[in-house]
C-alpha cells in the first residue's frame, strides 16, 4: 500500500491482515498519515498502489458488503448539531440497521439517557464523543475503525472506550484504531507504526 501526500510518500510496502477478534493499532506522530491510512482502508480515498481484501476478495468496486460491516469513528462526530440525539439516531437507522429496543440501554450506559431532547450543539465535546460511541455500540458492524478515539475524553470516558473495545473484540469483532496514546486492551493486538 502506498499513498502520497504532496511530495512525501506517507507509507509504502505496508502489509497487514486483520482477523476476527483482532485489534490493529496504528501508531505514529501527528501528520504521519494515520488518518489517511484509515480513510484509505474505508474507501474514502484511493491508494496509489495496493489493495484491500475483505473476506478474501478484493474490495475495489464492491464496497457495499464491507460497508455494511464497517462503523467509522473520527474527529468529527458525524451527527447534525441542530438535531437532538433521538432524531440523529433515527436518521442513522436509515443507513445502518440496529435494533430499536437496545437504544435506551446503550444511552444509559454512556450517560446520555437524560440528554436525548437537547440539540447536539448544546452538549459538551466529551458528551458529543460519547454520542459517536453510541453509534459504535448500536451498530452491528463487525469492523470498527476509530481515529484518535481519546481526544477530549476524560478518564471515565477513556476507560469506557477501553471497555467497549474489549467487549467488541471478545464478541469476535475486529478493529483498527489510530492513536498516539497508549491503549490498555486485553486480547489479540497487532501494531503498525508509521513514522
Amino acid at each position: 500500500m502506498c499513498l502520497f501526500r504532496g511530495d512525501k510518500c506517507l507509507f509504502n510496502s505496508l502489509e497487514f491482515a486483520l482477523n476476527p477478534g483482532q485489534l490493529l493499532i496504528v501508531e505514529g506522530s501527528n501528520g504521519s498519515g494515520k488518518t489517511s491510512l484509515l480513510r484509505g482502508i474505508a474507501g474514502l480515498l484511493e491508494f496509489e498502489q495496493g489493495e484491500i481484501h475483505w473476506e478474501g476478495n478484493p474490495l475495489h468496486g464492491h464496497y457495499q458488503a464491507f460497508r455494511a460491516d464497517l462503523t467509522w469513528f473520527a474527529h468529527k462526530v458525524g451527527f447534525k448539531d441542530d438535531l437532538n440525539l433521538l432524531e440523529n439516531l433515527r436518521f442513522e437507522q436509515s443507513l445502518h440497521s440496529f435494533d430499536e429496543d437496545s437504544v435506551m440501554a446503550v444511552l444509559a450506559r454512556l450517560g446520555l439517557d437524560l440528554l436525548t431532547e437537547l440539540p447536539l450543539r448544546s452538549l459538551s465535546a466529551g458528551q458529543q464523543r460519547r454520542v459517536a460511541l453510541a453509534r459504535m455500540l448500536l451498530s452491528k458492524g463487525r469492523v470498527w475503525m476509530m481515529d484518535e478515539p481519546f481526544t477530549n475524553l476524560d478518564g471515565a470516558g477513556r476507560s469506557l472506550v477501553d471497555a467497549v473495545l474489549s467487549e467488541h473484540l471478545a464478541n469476535g469483532g475486529s478493529a483498527i484504531v489510530a492513536t498516539h496514546q497508549p491503549l490498555e486492551i486485553v486480547g489479540d493486538v497487532k501494531r503498525v507504526s508509521l513514522s
Binding site: R67, G78, L83, F91, E92, L95, S97
Partner: protein, 232 residues
C-alpha cells in the same frame, strides 16, 4: 455476532431518511428556507420599481423577471447543500454507509427542492399577479417553475458536490451551474411569455418535464461521483 451479516436497510428507507432529516433541519432553521424566498420576492419587485409602473411593459417582462429571480434564489440556497454535512462529518458517514450514495444524493437534491423549490412555486402566483399577468399564464408559470426548480436542484446538487471542499466555492458554483441551467431558463421563461399571448405552451412544458426526468435520472450519479472525489 458470530458471522451474521448485518442486513442493510432498504433503499427507500435510506432515501426517505435523508429527505426527512433535511426537512427537519430546515424546520429547525427556518432562516435557510425563508431567506431565498424573501430574496425571490425582493428581486421580483426591483424590476417594476426600476422600469416604472406601466402595466403592459410589466406584463411582457414579467415571466422573464420571475424566472431569473427563481433561478438566482435556487442558486443562493444551493451552495450550502453539502457544506454543513462536510463540516460535521456526516458526509463521511453518508459515504461509508451501505446505502448506495446515488440514492442518498437524490434524497439530498429532493430534500433541497422541497425546502427551496416548492415554496417558490407556491408564492410565484403572488408575484405574477403583481406583474399583471393573465390568469392562464400564472398557472403555466407555476407548472414551469415546478419542473424548473426541480431540475435546478438536481443540477445544482452536482455543482454543490463539486465545490463542497473548496473554501471559496460560492461564486464558483453559479459559474458551473448557470450555463447548464440555461435550457431550463430559456424554456421556462419563453413558455410563460408565450402563454401571455395565449400561444400553444405544451411544447415548452413537455421539454421542461423531459429535462427534469433527465436530470432526475443522471444527476445523482454525477453528484455521487463528485462527492466521493471532493471528500477525499
Amino acid at each position: 455476532m458470530t458471522d451474521t451479516r448485518p442486513l442493510v436497510p432498504s433503499l427507500w428507507s435510506g432515501f426517505v431518511g435523508i429527505v426527512r432529516r433535511d426537512i427537519l433541519l430546515a424546520w429547525k432553521r427556518p432562516g435557510d428556507v425563508l431567506n431565498p424566498l424573501f430574496f425571490f420576492a425582493m428581486v421580483s419587485t426591483l424590476f417594476p420599481l426600476a422600469l416604472g409602473p406601466s402595466s403592459e411593459q410589466l406584463g411582457s417582462i414579467g415571466p422573464g423577471v420571475i424566472w431569473v429571480a427563481a433561478l438566482l434564489a435556487a442558486l443562493l440556497s444551493l451552495n450550502s447543500l453539502f457544506v454543513s454535512d462536510f463540516e460535521d462529518g456526516s458526509l463521511d458517514q453518508l459515504l461509508l454507509s451501505p446505502q448506495p450514495l446515488t440514492v442518498l444524493a437524490l434524497g439530498k437534491a429532493i430534500g433541497h427542492w422541497m425546502v427551496s423549490g416548492l415554496p417558490l412555486v407556491v408564492i410565484s402566483p403572488l408575484v405574477a399577479i403583481s406583474f399583471h399577468m393573465p390568469d392562464q399564464s400564472i398557472k403555466v408559470m407555476a407548472v414551469t417553475l415546478f419542473f424548473g426548480t426541480l431540475s435546478l436542484s438536481l443540477l445544482g446538487s452536482i455543482g454543490a458536490a463539486l465545490t463542497v471542499g473548496l473554501h471559496r466555492g460560492t461564486a464558483l458554483l453559479s459559474l458551473l451551474i448557470l450555463p447548464l441551467a440555461m435550457p431550463v431558463l430559456i424554456f421556462g421563461a419563453r413558455t410563460v411569455s408565450l402563454s401571455t399571448s395565449d400561444d400553444a405552451v405544451s411544447a415548452g412544458v413537455y421539454f421542461l418535464a423531459a429535462y427534469c426526468m433527465l436530470a432526475l435520472t443522471l444527476a445523482p450519479f454525477a453528484t455521487a461521483a463528485a462527492l466521493r472525489i471532493s471528500n477525499e
